[in-house]
Symmetry: C2
Subunit: 483 residues, 2 copies
Amino acid sequence: MRETARLFAGHTGLGDPSAWEPPAPFSPSLLPAPRLPAPAFCTADPFERAVRTYGQAYRDLIRAYRGDFANAPDLVALPRDEDEIVRVLEWAADRGVAVVPRGGGTSVVGGVEARFDGPSVCLDLGRMNRVLEVDPVSGAALVEAGATGPVLNAGLPEGLQLRFFPQSYELSTLGGWIATRAGGHFATLHTHIDDLVESIRAITPAGGVWESRRLPGSGAGPSPDRWLLGSEGALGVITRAWVRVQRRPAYKASVPVMFAEWRAGVAAVHDLAQSGLYPSNCRLLDAREAALTSGGDGRHALLIVGFESAGHPVGAWVARALEITSRHGGVAGEARQDKEWKGAFTRMPYLRNAYPGLGVIAETFETAVTWDRFPALHEAVMAEADGSATCRLAFAYPDGPAPYYTVLVPAVRGAEAEQWDELKRRFSETVLRMGGTITHHHAVGRDHRPFYDRQRPDAFALALRAAKDALDPRGILNPGVLI
Amino acid sequence: MRETARLFAGHTGLGDPSAWEPPAPFSPSLLPAPRLPAPAFCTADPFERAVRTYGQAYRDLIRAYRGDFANAPDLVALPRDEDEIVRVLEWAADRGVAVVPRGGGTSVVGGVEARFDGPSVCLDLGRMNRVLEVDPVSGAALVEAGATGPVLNAGLPEGLQLRFFPQSYELSTLGGWIATRAGGHFATLHTHIDDLVESIRAITPAGGVWESRRLPGSGAGPSPDRWLLGSEGALGVITRAWVRVQRRPAYKASVPVMFAEWRAGVAAVHDLAQSGLYPSNCRLLDAREAALTSGGDGRHALLIVGFESAGHPVGAWVARALEITSRHGGVAGEARQDKEWKGAFTRMPYLRNAYPGLGVIAETFETAVTWDRFPALHEAVMAEADGSATCRLAFAYPDGPAPYYTVLVPAVRGAEAEQWDELKRRFSETVLRMGGTITHHHAVGRDHRPFYDRQRPDAFALALRAAKDALDPRGILNPGVLI
């Protein structure tokens, strides 16, 4: 990790590798004593509790790094099946113990931290990770909620894949994706897991099993699946889902396009998003971000535009996309087979582990906003960041982009969490004020709650609270998120 | 209408034009007396009440034809703005009077009929039909709920369109589309209005205004819009929405492809649906339906596959689609500019007005089901129909089709409503049993309620009821639908 830090500092000029701070050594004594005895189906082991205390926000990393495990769950349950989940929920409801469902623990918004009063159980779905059934005719698979991306795809028959690649792919789970409305790698069309879910099954404390019918489409009342998508563990414990899988793409092409001006790149993405071409990749990096992550020259914005298909060559699509980008002054590089993006893309987040030791604070946040408002939002965020931010357009909808910002600033040793909170507050205010959503795919969790409360319609909050009270009358499920 | 009936009878052999039964002449005395006096903002005019008694199901037509207006609303309100809606809701809540929101009145599932005990007001949104604002940069427009398809599109700037064409296009309204999750004409991708809505505004009895932020995409909790989509007037009165509009297509092509076997056509649609080509049209008619509606030869199934684009020629897409259809033995006809489908498509439903006089019962129903289950479902429906049904695949998803069935049988004069109820019950049972949804785009209303109740997850029903109780504690909004 120190070597990574040295490389990073040399590349960015941020942080001082010679002032490297090692992590606090782990000791069971760092954890508060459990506030209740463990039943047979839970463990109170300090290590098991410690590794499930946090998600993966910088705010989480720095606290773990310093040995702060004050919010560790009192107990950890690792159910093997739904019966064991029911047992945990009944036990917890009887005692008013909070239950925090956990998948891969990659939340960057405090979604899996027991940041509330009173005892809690971490309900880790990690052992429920099987592919239970495959329907190759429809292109669908029934998968348990605890399956990570690699485990899920390895469980499918040769040639089939769930084409969903969030940056947390290696660690995050199907249940987590659904609970947080996670975003994958694809820039258009099926951007969120929402679009790839055919049916969801969940266990609720008071309502029993919630299982929707497998359907390719429906108009029968409000979609039950859409009530669980984004429910962040507050309405029920998602146990399995039917997801839409596809044949692996046989044809892929991806072209880098350089723009002298960021704005010209944005205009090209705008055009592409409304073209009906639906590129699988359409990612615009500003000049600094391109230099930092993709070997850019530091002066040009870089657009990666790509297409893929299981059935047909994508040349016609690429050619049409490049006609559009050239209209905006884009200079296309050589088309690539682009086999390697996934590795680089999913390895990137591990870099964050070096930040605490190096004395660098990293905050990444994202939003989505309509095209008419994007220029002003972008300007406001960059002004607020005062040189510390880089930007990429990660998703492109016909009516607006989803920009992703990375902010890197020197840490004030010992005050990092407060520093981070202040960054989060300032940028969240800016995003809300300028018409964006508080999150496009990172979820609400506890960090975005105050801002989410201002964004959502009040009447909807009333309805959501009533639904929650009906399903979880004791309020044991992930208290503090959403409601 | 008698001439239409004669042509229809000659074409199908169904009905006896010589036994033509004229409609009962309208008289105000056909309507029951209003059970409460009209406040200043309502009318009790018999004609206004009569034309708002029913939707457009055959069951509705036959009753109106015979002069049965037993379920007429007691009063009709025609608000001009949200303040007037609030006034109606407050007045109704104080008195426990039911309020049935109404758009174009084209429900074919009893969604707008006061089929319950106690007095009711029909809240007709027809006067609130303006385009309030257009954002040409993002491609979005803010439109009042009462706008019909033609009025909405006429209100947009030249060159922009809401590409949403349900068969009821000329009469149905934006608010009705949202409340019922209506399906348009496009066979893939953006099939439902759900996909074209950017933000929704509604008035709720107890929760005040429900308005979501305009966003191209979001991951902030469960989507508020998805709670109103399909809410069928039971959670709030939808008053306006931002919808995604597009440039009118400059390039269109559509090709008829003939298949000697229905199954081969189905296999071609299956392949096309999973091809990633996303044709705008991909409609397969069985041989009898093709003969009835599209000049087919009565022996071949007919697939219409089409593409459209505002920006680029669609030749490459068409060519690839025809490679796929020919693999399944499809014989392609000549490509057409296909300017006329919309007229013929939206005129078709008017034919229904001739059925009551002619003594023909028509029931159209639709579903969606995964590909693995479709062959068995189709076989079961056709067996149940015993020669009286034709089928088209109206929508094609990667994981399954949405078939649409038309059943025509001779009426038993005087017992048509019961006959229709029995048809509805039998086919609904078959659809549910075989794994389909009770509706893909016709909504639940009152006719599908018993089947919907069996389809939806119980825990979801609990949550939906709680949400309804919170927003509408007096239960005045469209009683009997959904919950």
